[in-house]
Symmetry: C2
Subunit: 199 residues, 2 copies
């Protein structure tokens, strides 16, 4: 296989890229060899060398402990538990929670042999024991696996003097009732708020 075919084959294995978009991307890169292609190659090599997994929270950063763990402006008493680094990034983007994180790296799964140890749940408990943690926000996905994992963690945290919360279920902002699934609508009705109380 020649250089060009090899590059296209590697590209086509990236998530969301099939053979057609891989070809298109490779052509785009070769047409912009001194700009985009060089930038991408350099950025990849740099990231491969320098990006680390934070030994405390499991986030990705160029240092460990990561920038978030070292950030003194954050509330060190709140830990937000997420399944994946992508979820951490999503919560960071909305800038509502300015606490610390704990990245599980997945959900409990007997079938895939993923137990509490693989998800660093003992390490989370240890962080609660060691630090002055007041609240653990369980921000796992609203899927069966995510909720099972959250439930397991909540049980494990029961012996400790820490508030355990989860994200609210409800209508997504901008969502139309007619297009919502029954489960979400049920949750939104169930958790309805008095307009007198709402701030």
């Amino acid at each position: 296989m020649n250089t060009l075919e090899h590059l296209m084959q590697v590209m086509s294995k990236l998530p969301g890229l099939g053979p057609r978009s891989a070809r298109r991307t490779v052509l785009h890169l070769l047409k912009n060899r001194e700009t985009t292609m060089r930038d991408l190659t350099t950025a990849l090599s740099e990231a491969m060398l320098h990006v680390k997994t934070c030994s405390t929270c499991g986030a990705l950063d160029s240092q460990s402990p990561c920038g978030i763990c070292l950030d003194s402006t954050r509330d060190p008493h709140v830990i937000c538990v997420v399944e994946d680094v992508a979820d951490l990034w999503a919560i960071e983007r909305c800038q509502t929670l300015r606490g610390l994180y704990h990245v599980l790296g997945g959900t409990l799964s007997a079938m895939d042999g993923i137990g509490p140890d693989q998800l660093h749940i003992p390490r989370l408990i240890q962080r609660v024991v060691d630090g002055d943690i007041r609240e653990v926000v369980l921000a796992t996905n609203a899927t069966l696996e995510g909720q099972t994992t959250a439930h397991y963690i909540a049980e494990k945290l029961k012996p400790y003097a820490v508030t355990v919360t989860r994200l609210a279920y409800g209508i997504p902002v901008g969502g139309e009732l007619d297009y919502l699934d029954d489960g979400t609508l049920h949750a939104a009705l169930h958790a309805r708020l008095s307009l007198q109380d709402a701030s």
Copy 2:
């Protein structure tokens, strides 16, 4: 900006990748650092060093003249004219035409200042003059720009003893009449074939 953000920013500029898919791709790469990420970085560096534009036909290959131009099993009397390397690859995949190519690198465009010289049309004429070329297949896109360019080339080739052809217009194989645009249906009706003649 840190290493990770930089990589995501470069990624998000690739065609078809927005910020969300760039994040997903970067995470996928970092999770497969020793396999996919290493392969991609190596393949990119290799391609950047070794892929060349063929000095004869304009195709991309690790050598110039390219493998197609040097392939002695091909019909050297037929040149297929395409707008882009991606179009050449598409025609190669269907394995119908086993001749040579001429990549224009675009279409004539007064607005973008793209004239015959930028598209290497003089070099195409020269190939017809120099070689024993019997047929030039104009395989430009069925767009206004593609057809204008094809028309221009056909005019330029008139003085030479060479057959100039274009791709057939018609119903795409598997296409349903109800979903076709009027132009395609008109072309398919206009170029209808006698079933007695059809092979």
